[in-house]
């Protein structure tokens, strides 16, 4: 796909920023010790990357979905976890607000998130309710001007550092399945809100993930986001954009792994010649590059579909996420194979990329959930 000169310039800028600021030392430190790098976050915020896709009137940069995809791709090419820093306010954090926040909510919550002054996260998943919203047990009971929130969310990316969370809770126990669920903007500093210990993870270590527990939390009714009892439909709409982001992260990871593999294959000599002279190796590189390019075109096309509000945008996002995340796992596997034993050693970047890639087929809808979404659109 031929990008506009503006998008080309954005790519150049995202790449320059990532290559300069996401140093190997920072990446390795985050992977080893987890936590959160506030210095990188401060720079991401200063240059407006937390608001790439958020309109200018709410403190964002006014970019489109393609700009957002390019940012995720280029940041992930260097460091997937730092891409997530910039991604969250643009997608799952800011998305539900942008989709159905009123003016007051947008000003109060979206603007500081877009400017990187506050962290806002997305809290849908529960220990017993992942892909199936019907089993959601967190509930919100009306009490005068307030709702009383009780329940537990799990695997919430960014929870330990969050100022606000978009929380899904059952408001009408009489309704079944996805109905009867509402969205709330919850101030994480309210009494009764607590976070679990950050989970040790296989990959994307350095963006903390934990439980959030709500124990009789009083949330003002002004913080009900969108229509009562119909919040889940909005969640699904937000997930489209999030899926595009995950697809672009997968693309960046695969591109990064390919570049590592190419340079290693040219350097590494066995039997008196670089291993890239062996067809067994060079054809693997050809397959990797071809799959990456296919994913890139699928993702950019899905981004443009979102930007033009195309009817099939949602399905395209699912396809992009499904294909790109599976592709990234295949490509990272091959990158390790080309590195041989060295690819198994932590000193080599492909080892980390392989682990970081793994979550891509899991979060924001597993590959199997994407298959359900895609096949249902064919069979309806």
């Amino acid at each position: 796909m031929i990008l506009s000169r503006e998008h080309e310039l954005m790519r150049k800028n995202f790449r320059n920023f990532a290559e300069t600021e996401f140093t190997t030392e920072i990446q390795e430190e985050l992977d080893r010790n987890g936590g959160f790098n506030w210095e990188v976050w401060e720079k991401i915020a200063r240059y407006g990357f937390a608001g790439t896709k958020i309109p200018v009137e709410y403190g964002g940069q006014g970019g489109d979905y393609l700009a957002y995809a390019l940012m995720n791709e280029e940041f992930s090419r260097v460091c997937p976890v730092l891409a997530i820093y910039a991604n969250t306010p643009n997608s799952l954090g800011g998305g539900p607000l942008l989709a159905c926040g009123n003016e007051e909510q947008l000003k109060k919550y979206l603007t500081p998130a877009a400017k990187g002054e506050k962290h806002i996260v997305f809290a849908l998943t529960e220990p017993g309710a992942g892909s199936d919203p019907g089993s959601m047990t967190t509930k919100a009971t009306p009490d005068g001007d307030y709702y009383i929130l009780n329940g537990r969310k799990c695997f919430i990316s960014g929870a330990p550092i969050a100022d606000y969370a978009i929380v899904y809770a059952r408001t009408n126990p009489a309704l079944r399945g996805a109905k009867g669920i509402s969205m709330f903007i919850v101030d994480m500093h309210l009494e009764g809100v607590s976070c679990g210990k950050p989970e040790p993870k296989m990959g994307i270590s350095g963006y903390p993930t934990s439980d959030i527990v709500f124990d009789n939390v009083r949330v003002h009714k002004d913080d009900l986001l969108g229509p009562l009892d119909r919040g889940y439909a909005v969640a699904m709409k937000t997930l489209d954009g999030g899926r595009l982001g995950v697809a672009a992260q997968s693309l960046g990871i695969a591109q990064g792994a390919l570049e590592e593999a190419v340079s290693y294959a040219k350097e590494r000599k066995q039997f008196g010649k670089p291993i890239s002279y062996n067809q067994g190796v060079s054809f693997m590189l050809a397959d990797m590059a071809t799959e990456i390019e296919a994913a890139r075109n699928l993702i950019y096309s899905a981004a443009q579909a979102k930007d033009s509000d195309a009817k099939d945008a949602s399905i395209q996002c699912s396809m992009a996420k499904y294909y790109a995340s599976e592709m990234a796992n295949r490509v990272c596997g091959k990158a390790i194979q080309i590195h041989g034993g060295y690819g198994f050693i932590k000193e080599y970047k492909v080892e980390r990329l392989y682990r970081d890639a793994r979550v891509m087929t899991l979060y924001e809808g597993t590959s199997q959930v994407q298959q359900i979404v895609i096949s249902r659109s064919l069979l309806k």
Binding site: L9, G48, M71
Partner: protein, 266 residues
Amino acid sequence: MRIYVCVKQVPDTSGKVAVNENGTLDRASMATIINPDDMSAMEAALRIKDETGCQVTAVTMGPPPAEGMLRELIAMGADDGVLISGREFGGSDTFATSQIVAGALSHLGVGEEDIIFCGRQAIDGDTAQVGPQIAEKLNLPQVTYAAAIEKDGKVLKVRRLLEDGYMTVEVQTPCLITCVKELNEPRYMTVKGILECYKKPVAVLDFEALKDEPLIDLDTIGLKGSPTNIFRSFTPPQKGAGQMLAGSPQEMVNELAGQLAAKHVI
């Protein structure tokens, strides 16, 4: 108040370096970047803009594709750009270039409160001559090698980075300052800046626009008019590896004196 920032598109010397038969750089076949010292000059200007809200204009002389560089500088925060471009200007050395740029700046108008920022030198020619020559031709005070700048009204206090120390100089606007990379850390573009950069004005000053400028002598511009002739271009031979001496200071001094005596240096 307006700040002009003179910038140059230079070959990316971290990539492949190609030289023409006549010894000049084969710029067409090399990737380009914005000269690093010029980025510091732009950042210095943008910091003054952040404080005062003044206008910042990026000025360059080069072939038409140099417009892309001006757009990037606008995406960083400059208000507009000026591209000095014409076949007649091609191949100019520093003497010719500074005449043309000075002529263009004079054409645009340098006011009482205005400042001209340049990078110290470009990484392709490494001459550090164009900035000072522009100042001379415009009859403006100049301060070179700026590593820190404080502005107080019309007075600028500039700390110059010299080989053996610092020198602090006060200068009044209008003036020209050349900047070193130690001055600051240039900012990145923003998405918003990029979305707007192609909508902002970039003026092109060609030969027709500038030929009557009194500062430009038409006989001494371009490749033919330039007094500099390149005799030969070559890659200098690599210096041999250094030798580290070990031991106590007395032992190292004895060893060093012995080696220098053996080479008849002392």
